[in-house]
Symmetry: C2
């Protein structure tokens, strides 16, 4: 297992979107006397993620960056929570960039620093370049480039996203390892010809998480944590 | 003058392509007993740059990354220098990545570090993502993202390259400053609505350089050096 570059999934794998988004909602809810659980609304917001991207993946909609989708998803999440009358457009606009200010899982920054000493590193996320740039600043990640959905103008798990990311580095798919805490992401990367690396994030979805607790495919590398992955790769 | 992000020209502005390319040619010429001046051949190689990109800019050719153009340009430069029979394809293939290993001008790394503490930073170069990533590693630059020609799939000074780079950061053109040692680059950036910053590189083309010695347009910021530009921007 000797990749030239590592591509990382970001939401869930490197950052804790659930805590971060709930933390952005909480003071707004408190100020407006909204009794809803911020963690539950964060989960509703995230639940709109896949349907929003599906429209692009299936060609029913032209590529729009995730920032645009996040804002639309918030409308649907608030409606689903019965809160459509409680937040105005300006308040919603101010909440949407919560996705740029998510906390890194505590084991990530040091592991990325170690890996960066040995490999080219880039996110291969469905987040836009603008979102990934600001999130990297917030969370303390140093990337060699921002790859992923925006350069492919499509969304994972479409193969074009993995292939365009490898090609942008001037590398063959087999020279690049996709790293994610999500088996579905890795299955798609592997089908596109990339190497794959997994570590679990058993708290991504909160207590009672039932998916992605263990590796479910023949991944090239399975580790307990980003640090263990770095060690296994000699970084 | 309060930009949110700075975009940088790279070849000539941040790195010394003439010394770097000549330095890659010199040992090859020595090993093969080629008497040609490596600096002169480097200049011939660079002289093929604009004609090669013009084919893409004018729609006569689909976008091809600069790595591909550099390899083709080397063939023409060697032919122009009467060296077409002296270097084989494998030797030429090995020379083309010389553009990934150019030396930074000595005043650049510290200035970029200072500016990075205050602004988002990205190259807006005609170099590909793959080239810019490797050059950044070699020269010690830390970028927030790699923007420029490849994300626009066109070449400067076409306005699309500046506009796509600003848009990729989620910023309006007027929120972004293009920084270059080339007046033509800045004229195009300004016409596209960006702020502009200039410092001179009077040795880029060697002794006797006659162009770009001074600012020739109403640039928002004119400095003596990257460090002076950082100071003027409060970094």
């Amino acid at each position: 297992v000797r990749p030239a570059a590592l591509l990382f999934d970001v939401f869930g794998t490197l950052v804790d979107w659930r805590t971060g988004v709930a933390g952005a909602l909480r003071p707004v809810f408190a100020a407006k006397g909204i009794a809803a659980d911020p963690l539950a609304v964060a989960a509703r917001w995230r639940a709109e993620y896949d349907p929003a991207m599906a429209a692009v993946r299936e060609g029913r909609r032209a590529y729009a960056p995730l920032d645009v989708l996040h804002r639309e998803m918030l409308d649907r999440a608030l409606a689903g929570a019965g809160l459509e009358d409680r937040l105005g457009a300006a308040e919603r606009d101010a909440l949407a960039p919560a996705w740029e200010r998510l906390p890194a899982w505590p084991d990530v920054p040091e592991a990325l620093d170690r890996l960066g000493g040995r490999f080219l590193l880039a996110p291969c996320s469905n987040g836009s370049i603008a979102l990934m740039v600001r999130l990297a600043r917030h969370a303390g990640f140093r990337w060699d480039a921002i790859l992923g959905a925006e350069i492919a103008r499509d969304y994972k798990p479409k193969p074009a996203v993995y292939l365009a990311s490898a090609a942008a580095l001037g590398l063959a798919p087999a020279e690049v390892m996709m790293v994610a805490a999500h088996n579905g992401d890795l299955a798609a990367a592997r089908a596109a010809g990339l190497m794959t690396g997994f570590f679990p994030r058993p708290a991504e979805h909160g207590p009672g998480q039932a998916s992605d607790l263990v590796a479910e495919g023949p991944w090239d590398l399975v580790a307990e944590s980003p640090g263990a992955l770095a060690t296994a790769l000699g970084a």
